[in-house]
């Protein structure tokens, strides 16, 4: 393995990493929001909304991710919806991750027992107070391990976006290999970089998990 070559390629790889991180963080942020909202809608008891969310989840789960990306980037323009490579990437990654986050948060909501509702009702708490002070922290805590799983997968799945020409980490590596044929150097390098990203995120996740098992502090 030629480390000098890796060093030489590093600036390019960092440019790719930057894009990977931007797209991933946008998708993670949006998918967590949509996930929470979707989970609330799916458990809302409002039948049309429940069916719509369920259909969405089943569609995303039931079709290949790569096909979803191509559908958004190559398919939607013929319906008059044209997005840049960047936004197509963000939309595809968010759409994929949201379906899984909806299920994660739904499990979290289900973990908050009927007893909590009884307690809040008997104390006279308003519905929003119960939702914010009790349901949200408890559901988040219960959903966190599986939500972290999806967050990590979101970062890794940003690699698929090289297929539509988004200049992210994997794209840069593949691109350089096309010129220099240094496959082992490039793939080993990006594996390490992905691992560092994932470990950092997992670490943050464990920290949040510990924090949430402590009080609803700071008020």
């Amino acid at each position: 393995m030629d480390f000098a070559y890796i060093l030489e390629a590093l600036p390019d790889l960092m440019t790719g990493l930057k894009m990977t991180l931007i797209v991933s963080f946008l998708a993670i942020f949006l998918s967590c929001l949509i996930g929470l909202l979707g989970a609330v809608l799916r458990t809302s008891g409002i039948k049309p909304l429940q069916y719509a969310v369920t259909a969405y989840v089943e569609f995303i789960r039931g079709t290949p991710y790569l096909v979803q990306i191509f559908f958004i980037f190559y398919g939607l323009p013929s319906l008059g919806l044209r997005f840049s490579i960047f936004w197509s990437g963000v939309i595809a990654l968010t759409a994929w991750a949201s379906a899984f986050q909806i299920e994660n948060f739904r499990a979290g909501l289900a973990a908050v027992g009927r007893g909590m509702h009884d307690a809040s009702a008997s104390l006279g708490l308003k519905r929003w107070q119960h939702s914010v002070f009790i349901v949200l922290p408890l559901a988040t805590r219960a959903a966190l391990p599986s939500a972290m799983n999806t967050i990590v997968a979101t970062v890794k799945n940003s690699a698929y976006l090289q297929a539509i020409g988004l200049v992210e980490l994997t794209f840069v590596a593949v691109d350089r290999i096309a010129y220099d044929f240094r496959a082992i150097e490039m793939f080993a390098s990006i594996c390490v970089i992905y691992l560092i990203c994932v470990f950092t995120i997992s670490g943050l996740g464990y920290m949040v998990e510990r924090r949430l098992s402590r009080p609803f502090g700071g008020r």
């Binding site: 007893g115 307690a119 008997s122 104390l123 708490l125 308003k126 002070f133 098992s213 009080p215």
Partner: protein, 256 residues
Amino acid sequence: MTANGKTSEMVDPEIAVELSGVDKWFSILQVLHGVNLTVRCGEKVVVCGPSGSGKSTMIRCINYLEKHQKGRIIVNGTELTDNKKVIDRVRQDVGMVFQNFNLYPHLTVLENCTLAPRWVKGVARKDAEAVARAYLERVRIPDKADFYPSQLSGGQQQRAAIARSLCMNPKIMLFDEPTSALDPELVREVLDTMAQLANDGMTMVCVTHEMGFARQVADRVVFMDAGRIVETAPPGEFFSNPKESRTKAFLSQILH
């Protein structure tokens, strides 16, 4: 005992809870059949009966955790209706203690006790904490204020739950099998706390199988079976001279 169709304007201020002709169904299953019960202010009523007899459902109807479909329930002179504002107001006067404690697991005991006073009644944090500490003292767990529920024994958790209810300064306390989930050796401390509360003059409706507690504390014992109130009597009479055959059968099963 029976209600006679009073309107709420004519309600006797001495009456804390009045159920008249209350029916309740869970879909097609009728769980309460024309239940009539009047609880006077300061009175302690113990409700007993076999499993599935509707005692928990009845007590949950009193603060509208369950909706009744027929009849009237008047609490502190206010009839329970679907109006959210009315229900919220009634619930502020009615404390409830549950079989499974239902403490908030992510909040400390002190935070459990201060959440509702602060957010429902708008009490300042310092004042709410002072009140909470006083009640924790009263249920004899002042040193557990900063612990999480999971760090407490079952008996301590239930006493914390009682303190949490008391922090809202309720006029009526409902107990739904408060000792049924406890290890036998922890039952006593919870019953003692409840007896002390009774001595202080709290109006109490208590679903329990603790017949010793009923004897010691109750003004009246209500026996329910199959969604109906079968018999109501002061504890002395209830235990020594039950009138209904179903009451006799029940007592012979639980008193050894």
